[in-house]
Symmetry: C2
């Protein structure tokens, strides 16, 4: 009998995957499902950047440079300068989505058995990349009462061992929407300096900050060798299917190592590099419009959530996610019930149970993540469903 590998067994399935058959069954019954469960924006990809791909003039779809087309990397230098990040094109390796940038960072910087500290709740796929790189995720808990602010410095100190090699910070945060302040970023700087750690910064949602300016890990001074930016164009241009990201650091040794991983897989996708390059030339107000739309949705969803008796939702400072605590005991069961046994005028709602975002077993059982990737009418429809559902849910508590 042939066996799959241990990592093949340990690899976590997508946390919402188990709900998908229930969503499909609901749709078969004719129920309309509001999908607030995934981070796939409904915002149109800017037509001019799709046109750049359509009009690109070439006859052979060739491998690009393993680090990405030089013209694209030079253009990215311009983009990064615009957000206060000064790097040159040799410090950028274009990746196949942010996913590959994270995997490259884990692979090139961390040994098997090394530990990486991540404030929880966190983006569930970090677990998958950790299994691939045989790295141990050590969660430290952030809390819904503080809106998921950075855990106190003592919590980091307590979690750090001789095996700790890195901290991952997602800012603004998926799944919490929390936007880390300058002070919090400076705190992280002190920790990585004191304990000689890498700071892996996932800034996929950089453009969507509502309460204050974004402070990038790349803005921190004196930690050039520590900071690695794992970036993606997926969310900022609504271009998730392009699979274009970037691995950015001023640490030459890390760049040299990651370049070897990049060469092994030959090149990132060519079509979407054209799209990414064109995107840097979008009008200066492009993000204003998108951001205004997301902010309106955030205001709507947060107001509606907090108006439901027993529900608490801190106001997220960025990204397009909100975490809410519900008057229930088991969000996994509740989310399944919403799809299996509930509808409100032929509508229901699909949410992501928060348990999948916590590394510590048992946490987040009464929390859900809501992605506000639908327009405000749909959000209001979804909130009507949730309000009604919590009135009639047999498992409601309090």
């Amino acid at each position: 009998m042939l066996k799959i590998s241990h990592r093949g067994q340990e690899m976590p399935p997508s946390p919402i995957r188990k709900l998908v058959p229930f969503a499909e069954a609901a749709k078969k019954k004719g129920i309309k499902v509001f999908h607030l469960n995934i981070g796939q924006p409904d915002i149109e990809t800017p037509p001019q950047i799709l046109d750049a791909v359509r009009q690109a003039d070439f006859t052979i779809l060739e491998y690009s440079h393993s680090a990405g087309n030089e013209s694209y990397r030079r253009k990215l230098v311009q983009y990064y300068a615009g957000v206060g990040i000064n790097v040159n094109h040799h410090q950028i390796i274009v990746t196949t989505g942010g996913s590959e940038a994270i995997l490259f960072g884990f692979m090139a910087c961390l040994d098997a058995g090394d530990e990486v500290i991540i404030p929880e709740p966190f983006y569930a796929n970090y677990n998958g990349f950790a299994v691939e790189a045989d790295v141990v995720v050590k969660p430290i808990t952030s809390n819904i009462e503080t809106g998921f602010a950075l855990p106190p410095i003592q919590d980091f100190e307590k979690a750090i061992t001789a095996k700790t090699k890195a901290i991952v910070i997602c800012n603004p945060n998926n799944p919490t929407g929390y936007l880390y302040s300058r002070e919090e970023m400076e705190t992280l700087k002190k920790i990585v300096q004191k304990h000689n750690l890498y700071l892996f910064a996932d800034e996929a949602y950089r453009e969507f900050c509502y309460t204050s300016e974004h402070v990038s890990a790349m803005h921190l001074t004196g930690v050039d060798d520590h900071v690695v930016l794992m970036d993606t164009i997926s969310k900022r241009y609504s271009a998730c299917g392009g699979r274009i990201g970037a691995f950015v650091t001023r640490n030459q040794q890390v760049l040299d190592a990651v370049m070897k991983f990049a060469q092994a897989r030959l090149s990132p996708p060519s079509f979407a590099q054209i799209l990414g390059e064109a995107a840097v030339d979008l009008p200066a107000d492009y993000f204003n419009t998108t951001k205004a739309e997301y902010k309106k949705r955030r205001d709507t969803i947060v107001t509606r959530l907090n108006a439901i008796p027993g529900v608490f939702c801190p106001n997220p400072g960025g990204a397009f996610y909100a975490m809410a605590r519900l008057p229930i005991e088991d969000a996994d069961k509740f989310c399944q019930w919403l799809l299996e046994s509930f509808d409100h005028n032929g509508h229901t709602i699909m949410l992501a149970p928060a348990t999948g975002f916590y590394g510590t077993p048992g946490l987040g059982k009464n929390e859900v993540r809501l992605a506000y990737v639908l327009n405000t009418d749909a959000i209001n429809g979804a909130m009507d469903c949730l309000e009604k559902a919590l009135q009639v849910y047999p498992g409601r508590i309090g």
Copy 2:
């Protein structure tokens, strides 16, 4: 001082990378370099499949299904049926190039420390994926005298240990161009059955067979659980930059495991899935034309090589590579000399030293790989250079 990981250190650089600066310097001096060193075909990507991408009608570049668009997978079923491989669309996971299919196979099927047997010389990037998955490559030597036929069964038996979990077979072979016969494939079947091993089949060059029909590992009967096909559209449609491949197996447990790796990175690139889907509808004679062109080039390069005194080049049955033994002691030095110190009427040639394709140190020192990805005029020009170079090379022996 921050350190990179052990695998970051062990990760092999691209074997031809060290020659690139010399090629650039030659070009700066005004020398035209014939590039026979890389597998980037000069054949045009079929315009109709590029048009399919240009004309695709969508407004949001969304994530695809993690296994690839269902419409594309259903189309691939049709393609595979056409080459005698019967699978359904649930048995196909679309990957980011053949590279990701190989990595997924190593990750999902092999544990850290497990061994994989690969006839050498072999595609150098297998080493990189082995480092990523912490797997040990055990080379068994195939020989230029036999044209790089499958090593005898005893060589496999000798190499197999309790840690051996898989054999990788690239057919037709990169870098040798060798096309494995039905008997050789049946031999491999017996070995994987007897020793309970996976058979990982890299068939990137399936369409380019010149001496007999291609025998796929997927054609073998009774080893459904053993065989994993790692496929790509890069070479068959001259679409290397698309980064679209496929992981294909009838082993359900392996599919379930690989699906989790696929979910972690969300989706393969969307644009090139459209291209891949359109490619299945290319006219039936598409491959005939391409194959006839490659065959003409093969005949030219092999004839020219064997006409040079002291050179031996077995006639490859497939792919678009030839391996040649040269009357020199050190191909790495010779290839550098060609770029650094030689020209013939303002032309020189870039070749891949074979040492990078052998796992056993010291082998292949007087061999080079030539990729016949240039038209016959260019190949003749390149062979004129090589002929002249071997007349004047100070390190010539014999």
